[in-house]
Amino acid sequence: MNKHTIAITVENRPGVLTRVTTLIRRRGYNIDSLAVGATDDPTVSRMTVVVEGDDAIIEQVTKQLYKLIDVIKVVDLTKEHLVARELVLIKVKADHSVRPDIVQIVDIFRARIVDIGRTSLIVEATGDQRKIDALEDAFRPFGILELVRTGKVAMIRGAGEDNRRK
């Protein structure tokens, strides 16, 4: 079972997100992560969905997605050469004694401190999934108070484009 990153171009209409997620759930597949947003064309939205499954499952998901009237295009990005990023916000326990250690980790990961509280810091980082996982591991000994990840967004490198109504 591999993780597949699928880009879905859809009509930007009410209910389209529900249609896509209901379909994936209905066919018994699990969504690992999901990110949705508008594209440069305001009538078109783009979803990046990470689904776990072997090639046959992903083929079936793709075909079923195409059956949705509002779905314009489905591309499995997994085998493509792509740029994939996720954003994470981590609220980490940080009293004065450990702050220098945390700052050092933030530097190493090229993350940013975006809020300083009395006993905690909020750190923002972007990167691929492995980097985010590693950052999370590095902070764990200090105590993670809260963590939120956006889910992956991805784009094929080079001149190809996916958002158009083809």
Partner: protein, 566 residues
């Protein structure tokens, strides 16, 4: 610029779409629409329960190939059509279903008779629209009908809030269909069709497995040409009944769980399985790993998602069955030249199986349900439209009546909806008044929508309901007999109404038949009645079973019973 209200525009657009019959039941939020129907050329048929409306629309659609339509109110009216939506989705029946909805400013407030029907039906609708602005109505209606009838057909829902019905708007005819994400593939890939043609010519033991898609596509003529010109035997699924005449020498009847022995043997021996408009349902394949074990598989279907879903396919062809078969026949004709088919030994083998393992049942003793079905076949010369409920009645109707024409068998295949047959028969009869229409029913199923006797009386619809009454939920009882040591847990339905008196209470005709020799007379009498429905309550042997039967999940070679020699 407003020239009418949303409700007026809705009715006008239905007229413009060519809707002639609309099944429905009014309620609060659809009152403005019903007010318009009062003066419309559309014939509106008032049902007694919304489930009856949608199954009647399905029966209409299946009998004609046109889009069936119904209209119900919000809340419970809408939730009552969910079963029919799921049924139509599974059996690819084209429907446009209109539900009323509370006013747009009330949506989400748990208003009286509010239900999120677009949400509830999401997994069972081909598509749905929540119409929030009447100005979009001309496009929405056009798109709904377009989606319902094209590609792999299916049910489409339009949810129409009451304020949208009252909204002033401008209607200048149906709108443009603009669906960039919806482009069904109709024409098959040429190279794939050529590959299929070569495979057919090379095959020693080819077999066609035809499904409901052949009927939806109107591909019966092309299928018959393929089978006859290339001497290929044809088996069909339940949904495929009538797509190829069962009286033809090349027909093997139905395959699968309650299929014929010869069809299932042929599937296990074939070296080339041509699946046309079929979806390899579990009721057809049994244990997948032992289904058609020696066969290369050609799969022709309009829905790409069906290809490779259950069975590995060697030559997939996505397209409209009729167009693909037409092209396939042309290519075959040119490749074949004057050579005659070399496959006499295969057809001889198939014919031997047919001789050796015919369908049959023991006539001795109490009245047999199979006999009733056979009599219907002989009396109507196989020219009736047969609707069925679900269960044993459905399987006997499939096994002992030979279907010769598409759209002559109307049954709930995928979802297996008890209570489907009678309202579907009403829809079929209204669509095709010249046809004799039967509902072959069980005593369990018929009680699920028997209230539609009121509808059939009101509109003088002479459908003939033949209850094969065994006072059981018969198919479940049969499974209990075979797989649960005869423990008939909650399947005894002997506490039931007197169906003759029930019919008479509605003003319909009721008859009871206990004896084999009275079957013919009762059926003949029923077929003379032209102004009201008839119930014939056949008291059949209580524990008669449907055979052959493949136990669920087993290879379709493992058939129980149905062999007179056993």
């Amino acid at each position: 610029m407003a020239n009418m209200t949303g409700a007026q525009a809705l009715v006008r657009s239905l007229e413009d779409e060519g809707v002639d019959i609309l099944f429905g039941l009014p309620g609060g939020v659809v009152l403005p629409v019903f007010d318009q129907l009062y003066d419309s050329s559309i014939r509106t048929v008032l049902v007694r329960h919304e489930q009856g409306a949608i199954h009647a629309a399905e029966g209409y659609a299946r009998a004609t190939g046109k889009v069936g339509t119904c209209i119900v109110t919000s809340g419970p009216g809408a939730t009552n059509i969910v079963t029919g939506m799921a049924d139509a989705y599974m059996d690819s029946t084209p429907l446009v279903v209109i539900t009323g909805q509370v006013a747009t400013n009330m949506i989400g407030t748990d208003a009286f008779q509010e239900a999120d029907i677009t949400g509830i039906t999401l997994p069972v609708a081909k598509h749905s629209f929540l119409l929030k602005d009447a100005r979009n109505l001309p496009e929405v209606v056009a798109e709904a009908f377009h989606i319902a009838r094209t590609g792999r057909a299916g049910p489409v829902l339009i949810d129409m809030p009451v304020d949208v019905s009252r909204q002033e708007m401008n209607y200048e005819g149906l709108g443009q269909v603009r669906l960039p994400g919806y482009k069904p593939t109709l024409k098959g890939h040429k190279r794939q069709i050529e590959a299929a043609a070569r495979a057919i010519l090379a095959a020693k033991r080819p077999l066609v497995y035809a499904g409901g898609g052949v009927i939806s596509a109107g591909a019966s003529k092309e299928l018959a040409q393929l089978a006859r010109e290339n001497l290929i035997p044809v088996t069909h699924s339940l949904m495929g009944k009538g797509c190829f005449p069962e009286t033809d020498k090349l027909s093997l009847g139905m395959l699968g769980m309650h299929g014929t022995r010869y069809a299932n043997y042929s599937v296990c021996e074939t070296d080339l399985l041509l699946a046309v408009g079929a979806r390899f349902s579990d009721r057809v394949t049994g244990k997948l790993s032992e289904f058609a074990p020696h066969a290369a598989v050609v799969h022709i279907d309009i829905d790409p998602a069906e290809i490779g879903k259950n069975v590995r396919v060697d030559i997939p062809i996505v397209g409209d069955c009729r167009l693909v078969l037409k092209e396939l026949n042309e290519i075959l004709a040119s490749l074949r030249g004057n050579k005659s088919s070399p496959r006499r030994d295969w057809t001889a083998q198939v014919e031997e199986w047919k001789r050796k393992f015919p369908m049959g049942y023991e006539l001795e003793g109490k009245l047999k349900p199979q006999y009733v079905v056979e009599r219907i076949y002989y009396l109507t010369k196989g020219k009736a439209t047969i609707c069925t409920e679900v269960g044993q009645n459905q399987m006997w109707a499939a096994q002992y009546y030979l279907y010769k024409e598409p759209r002559s068998f109307i049954s709930s295949g995928g979802l297996g909806t008890m209570g489907y047959g009678f309202p579907a028969a009403i829809g079929a009869k209204l669509a095709c008044p010249e046809k004799t229409v039967f509902d072959i029913a069980g005593d369990g199923s018929i009680q699920m929508n028997i209230q539609e006797l009121g509808t059939a009386m009101q509109y003088k619809i002479p459908v003939i309901i033949c209850i094969l009454n065994n006072q059981y939920l018969g198919m479940v009882r049969q499974w209990q007999e075979l797989f649960h040591e005869g423990r008939y847990s909650y399947t005894d339905m002997s506490h039931q109404p007197d169906f003759v008196k029930l019919a008479e209470a509605y003003g319909a005709v009721g008859m009871r038949v206990n004896r084999t020799e009275d079957v013919r007379g009762a059926l003949q009498e029923a077929m003379q009645i032209t102004d009201r429905p008839v119930i014939i309550d056949f008291w059949v042997e209580r524990e008669a079973g449907v055979y052959p039967m493949v136990p669920p999940g087993e290879s379709i070679l493992n058939m129980l019973g149905g062999d007179l020699d056993e």
